[in-house]
């Protein structure tokens, strides 16, 4: 049980953020995805989405490819194997936490009560 609590508390904060979790989840379903589809499916604004993608790119979780189709600039995104592993690990930890939720909560309460 202690391991479950620890894993829940120490989840990957880059993946844990809801917007980034959405981005990684939908990217994991595909090979490549254009920015404008991600904008539609996530419901995020362009600026907000760009910010989250930059963080994911810095962490090495996504690859960003920018090119021109005719005269139109296109941004294409792809989840990296590192990003896929991070998402899978996060899912397992979250599933474990949800399965043991009542036990985890009672353990946390006990710990809080024991604090001076």
């Amino acid at each position: 049980m202690k391991a479950s609590i620890a894993s829940y508390i120490n989840v990957d904060r880059i993946v844990h953020e809801p917007a980034r979790l959405v981005i990684l989840t939908v990217l994991a379903e595909t090979d490549k995805m254009e920015f404008r589809f991600l904008e539609k499916i996530s419901g995020l604004t362009k600026g907000n989405l760009s910010g989250h993608i930059s963080k994911l790119e810095q962490a090495g979780y996504v690859e960003v490819d920018k090119f021109f189709r005719g005269k139109v600039p296109v941004t294409s995104l792809k989840i990296t194997p590192i990003g896929r592993n991070a998402l899978e690990k996060y899912r397992k930890e979250l599933n474990g936490a949800l399965t043991h939720r009542p036990t985890i909560l009672s353990a946390i309460r006990k710990r809080v009560r024991s604090l001076p």
């Binding site: 979790l21 589809f37 539609k40 995020l44």
Partner: protein
């Protein structure tokens, strides 16, 4: 942030369900980059029926032969345009490559290589087989044209004919095209007979499947648009 994922994030079963829904919508949309062709299937099926009608109606005239020979290329261009400008108009989303896809293509390439050898043998034994037709260039040139089309087939199949229906119909249309453009208008007996019945049956299923896919796409587009609307 999406209406289905709470801003104050507290992972719950509802959030997981919302993520699952986004994942499913993305997957369904991405299918239109490969397996789902929608109206492209309907066009392909309709073209097969036009071909079967012409092959069975009478002995082909030259312009009809050229039209039939050009049919697979017209179809490929039409369905790719539809895919790009209509089904993937919200942005290109592609699915990962299938492992067995390259294996099937390898087998197919070997099969076409045998076909090319057969053409060369036929040219040696019976040059008249490659005479006449809509483009009468002489036996050697007509046979070369046939070989060029057969050589291009594995690439065309790999790049443009990804669903099982597209595969069957595409191979039928491309083979017909190769023989018609090589100067064989009499080939109708083969392609309009037993092969034609199989191609016709596949074309019928393809039209129905294409229509169902198109309706599915309309529902999918509505759902994706609804994601942006306030709750």
């Amino acid at each position: 942030m999406n209406q289905t994922v709470s801003a104050q994030y507290n992972p719950s079963n509802e959030d997981i369900a919302a993520l699952q829904r986004l994942q499913n919508l993305t997957h369904e949309y991405a299918l239109f980059s490969r397996d789902a062709v929608g109206l492209g299937h309907v066009i392909g099926g309709a073209l097969v029926f036009i071909i079967l009608f012409l092959l069975r109606a009478h002995f082909l005239r030259a312009w009809e032969g050229i039209f039939l020979g050009a049919t697979p290329y017209i179809w490929i261009v039409a369905k790719e345009q539809l895919r790009f400008h209509y089904y993937q108009s919200s942005g290109q989303v592609t699915l990962p490559a299938r492992r067995w896809h390259n294996l099937i293509l390898g087998i197919l390439a070997a099969f076409f290589a045998l076909g090319i050898v057969a053409i060369i043998v036929a040219l040696k034994l019976s040059p008249r087989f490659f005479q006449g037709g809509p483009i009468a260039l002489g036996p050697v040139r007509n046979a070369t044209l046939c070989i060029v089309i057969l050589l291009a087939m594995p690439f065309l199949i790999w790049r443009y004919l990804r669903s099982p229906y597209e595969f069957v119909t595409g191979v039928y249309l491309l083979s017909l095209s190769a023989f018609l453009l090589s100067g064989n208008l009499q080939i109708g007996e083969v392609f309009g007979g037993g092969l034609g019945i199989v191609a016709g049956a596949v074309a019928l299923v393809m039209i129905l499947a294409g229509y169902a896919e198109h309706m599915k796409f309309i529902r999918l587009r509505r759902e994706i648009r609804a994601l942006k609307e306030p709750a």
